[in-house]
């Protein structure tokens, strides 16, 4: 068996995504898009809906396409390439949680609206910033046939627009996943967060004894599945981001002259550019291998592949973003330069859902013992 199985669906979706983003979200308009994130999200969401992307991982009987996360990967990759924020990743993660952990009733209740273009999100991280999804302080207490939720979630993307959010909380000493609806969210304190990647709309949510019906607790939560899904999608974003930033670097290296020569002719810039190219190829290979493992269904293989992709890709993208600034010289120091957009995105991707060192520590027993 080869390490990468690339399906016809993936291939078709990749081609569609390449064209869609090239046409609708040209890379030379990233700054303008960031000035109007809501408008840009609306435009993206309308297109995504039309192309059926909002229902990819949702089973057919709930209005979706019954495909898998592997088919979402090419879309997220191209989003990363064009530096789109959008609620696509958080929505997909919320859906993944419900598809893997929800009962039939729960699926029937929550999935069809997303397939039709609804927005959702996840709240898995808390104030201490721990990457371990089991480190949860938010507490749920069952009292009088209701769940009373108390605690605070951070880095909840697009919480202002989401129809519902899947949050983690401890119920009876066990980490559980709970769906919180828009109506319930409106009773919470939602604060906008200033984050390094300005394409993101991130929020904290405080639950102060929020009452939630027990039917909104997901039946059989699997945090490993959810983490693998998150790692896969962020790795896809990283892979696309690497091509985006390499494009920015190359366009400067082939047009900017210093001391009478194009700066791309200097080996001190040329060689790191090649390293970035090869790190992109490696990241992309890890990514599509992880996608294949996830489709294959082997949990350990998937975990190894997803952690490897995230660990390798995080460092590669951070290096590329860092060098992109340096290679632009004085211009790189300005807000106006696209390089900073990619460096900030790289830092976001690096520090959400675990950096390289974190994943190496989990990979060690899987690979060595």
């Amino acid at each position: 068996m080869t390490a990468i199985e690339f399906s016809d669906e993936q291939s078709m979706i990749l081609e569609t995504a390449v064209n869609f983003f090239r046409e609708k979200f040209p890379v030379n308009e990233i700054h303008e898009r960031n000035e109007n994130l809501d408008g840009s999200t609306d435009l993206f969401w309308a297109g995504a809906k039309e192309l059926g992307w909002t229902g990819i991982v949702i089973p057919e009987n709930y209005g979706g396409l019954s495909l898998s996360l592997s088919e979402v990967v090419p879309i997220v990759e191209m989003m990363g390439r064009h530096l789109i924020g959008s609620p696509f990743i958080p929505t997909t993660l919320a859906v993944t949680a419900i598809v893997s952990a929800g009962s039939e009733e729960q699926k029937a209740r929550w999935l069809p609206s997303v397939a039709e273009g609804g927005i959702a999100s996840v709240g898995l991280t808390e104030e201490d910033g721990s990457w371990n999804l089991s480190d949860v302080k938010t507490n749920g207490e069952v009292r009088d046939g209701e769940l009373i939720l108390k605690g605070k979630k951070c880095f909840v993307l697009d919480a202002k627009r989401a129809d519902f959010i899947v949050v983690s909380a401890i119920i009876d000493h066990v980490v559980s996943l709970i769906i919180v609806t828009r109506e319930q969210l409106n009773k919470c304190i939602i604060r906008s967060e200033v984050v390094i990647d300005e394409t993101r709309q991130s929020f904290s949510i405080e639950f102060n004894d929020l009452k939630i019906p027990l039917t909104q607790i997901l039946d059989k939560p699997d945090l490993n599945d959810l983490e693998n899904a998150a790692l896969l999608l962020i790795s896809a974003e990283i892979s696309g981001g690497l091509s985006g930033v390499l494009r920015v670097i190359l366009s400067y290296l082939t047009t900017r002259k210093q001391f009478g020569k194009y700066i791309g002719s200097y080996q001190s810039l040329k060689h790191p550019a090649v390293q970035i190219l090869l790190s992109l190829e490696a990241t992309r290979s890890h990514l599509y291998h992880a996608a294949a493992c996830l489709s294959g269904g082997d949990k350990i293989k998937t975990e190894v592949a997803a952690r490897s992709a995230k660990a390798y890709g995080s460092d590669a993208f951070a290096f590329a973003g860092d060098r992109a600034i340096q290679f632009h010289g004085g211009f790189g120091f300005t807000y106006e330069c696209d390089a900073q957009l990619f460096l900030r995105r790289a830092l976001w991707c690096q520090y959400q859902f675990g950096d390289a060192a974190y994943h190496h520590s989990y990979l060690a027993p899987l690979l060595l013992d």
């Binding site: 990468i4 290296l253 090869l278 190829e281 291998h289 060192a357 690979l367 060595l368």
Partner: protein
Amino acid sequence: MSVSPTELAEFEVQADRWFAENKPEKPGFILPETFMEVGTDEQFKFLRAWQNKVYENGYVGLSWPKEFGGGGLPQVYQDIATKAMATHRVPFLLNTIGLNWAGPLILSMSSSEDKKKYIPSILSAEEIWCQGFSEPDHGSDLGNAQCKGRKDGDDYVINGSKIWTSLGMYAKHMILLVRTSTEAESKYSGLSFFLAPMKTDGIEVQPIRKLTGEYGFCQTFFNDARIPASCMMGKEGDGWRVAMATLMFERSAEGGQAGGLSMMDLSIDDVIELAKRAMRNGKPAIEDPFIRTELVKLIVEAKGNVYMADKAEIPALEGEWPGAVTMSIKLRATEFKRRMCQFAISLQGANASRYIDDRAVDEGMWQRSYLNAFSGTIGGGTTQIQHNIIGERILGLPKD
């Protein structure tokens, strides 16, 4: 040709059994790590006999045409045989330059007559090949070769020297790049390519001692050596093009090689196994958190290289800069090997300071491998030149 899965499976079992049963005993002397280190007659004889045996039993040249001594089978058969060689860690095949560089070149470009003349003896290791590309003053800058060839009657008279001639002491033929014109339009179009007989008056071979202390490389001197014009490959002035085609085979960017191992291959699994044996503060080194992290990084990198090869087979995943994966195989593999050996040495505590000797860890194999690893990162175009090539050809960056 269609391949039946049952036949393939049968062949796999058969190859596996043959190499298990025929793996030679360790000789009473240390074997070289690659074909570039064959420095003594006993090493040479041992390795020549091994390749001959492998060939006689039908495990090398399987994809080459039958009429020239090959197996006439699809490539997948050779891949299976080569894999079995790696699995059983048998000695490498001595005539690597013939099998994997000169051979495929001759098969792709030469006359049927030349193929009959050269190919069968490449496979059987009766006639050993060497390569005359690099020159003392022009290591990686192949296009600047200065060794000269002047047409005189039916011969070219060659003067100059070539360096890093592996197997030079034993070779019968050399693939040779010489400057046949100094007035050509460009430095590249003044070059020509020969399949030169080494047993020629005026050709002298002098062994070079390498950083490992071993022999195996030579410098080859040409003093009015007369090479028949009929030995020229292509036309006068085609040398650069033919040399580039050779390098594509050498860097495995092009298929068609006879296959087989060309070196004693060490993998990351060997390093993990070493980390289990080596001790750090009274415990196996593999329990040390820093060592674990470094090992994981190396494994992830090695896996990335494997997956890249698979990705390169999928046209839809070619991406924005096609060719990057295939063009960087040599660069990635050799740099990885160098760093991996460096790390393997670091696992050995004070014994890392030992060298080829009974008391050294694994008889000093890791130290020798680290020093030898530079032949990969320097030979066949240094790592730095590889970066230039990829930067210019794949990324479209301007030349210096």
